[in-house]
Symmetry: C2
Subunit: 123 residues, 2 copies
Amino acid sequence: MTKIKESSTRNYNKGLSELACPVTYVMNKIGGHWKPIILYHLMSGPKRYSELKRAIPAITEKMLIQHLKQLQDDKLVTRKAKDVVPPYVVYSLSKSGESLTPVLTAMVAWAVRDNKRYSQVSA
Amino acid sequence: MTKIKESSTRNYNKGLSELACPVTYVMNKIGGHWKPIILYHLMSGPKRYSELKRAIPAITEKMLIQHLKQLQDDKLVTRKAKDVVPPYVVYSLSKSGESLTPVLTAMVAWAVRDNKRYSQVSA
DNA sequence: CATAATACATACTTTGGGGTAAGTACTTGT
DNA sequence: ACAAGTACTTACCCCAAAGTATGTATTATG
């Protein structure tokens, strides 16, 4: 959870720029080292917690649920749990989450072009 | 400058995800609380250092040059200085920088729609 | 003589993101 | 009896990004 101090210039600025700058609004939602990766994996369909875990071996469980929670709070993914034991939890993209796809693909397209542009120089 | 330790898991992961995830590649370039704002202001044309400073009153001078430098290192903006006194320095978008515009506008479009979606509920 | 304006630089502190490691509850398989 | 799999939680540490504050060189202007 790691509660955040409401005061502090940091947070004040964060709030301001989120209001003022839509790009920052987006980044606060999909930023963080794991969120785009998680979103990417959910784009190919709903996944169980353990499936995501196996699909992203480098992520720790703490980071995984932490980001999944934030993504839920930001209404980008939805969680569905069957109340059985062993637990069965499925995460999937919400409508907002799905509508992010073109944004992410635009980023990917740019990244590929940009990377090519400079890797050729140094290669 | 704030040199970064080359070792450390943090950086290792950062490097990995930048290779593996194009989205992260983009975010490492336009992430940080001020970069998108700076880029936005440069999209309306080249600007002097002091113009940027006045256009973004909340930013400190340290943050401004720091990010301008990183944007230069990432080949997104170019710096042109006339060697006169008082100094006259102009920053403008590079080709890569300009090619980012559709990405940023895609983000903006999504942000506006997404924000509308939920502000209506709580309004 | 001192202040303003230009475009920075640099030392210092804070804090939130990310990482490590370990524990929880409940059941099935050996 | 105990290890393994499910989906988490919790306490703790580290560090890089962000912020605060001050200094620099030069010239013009009151």
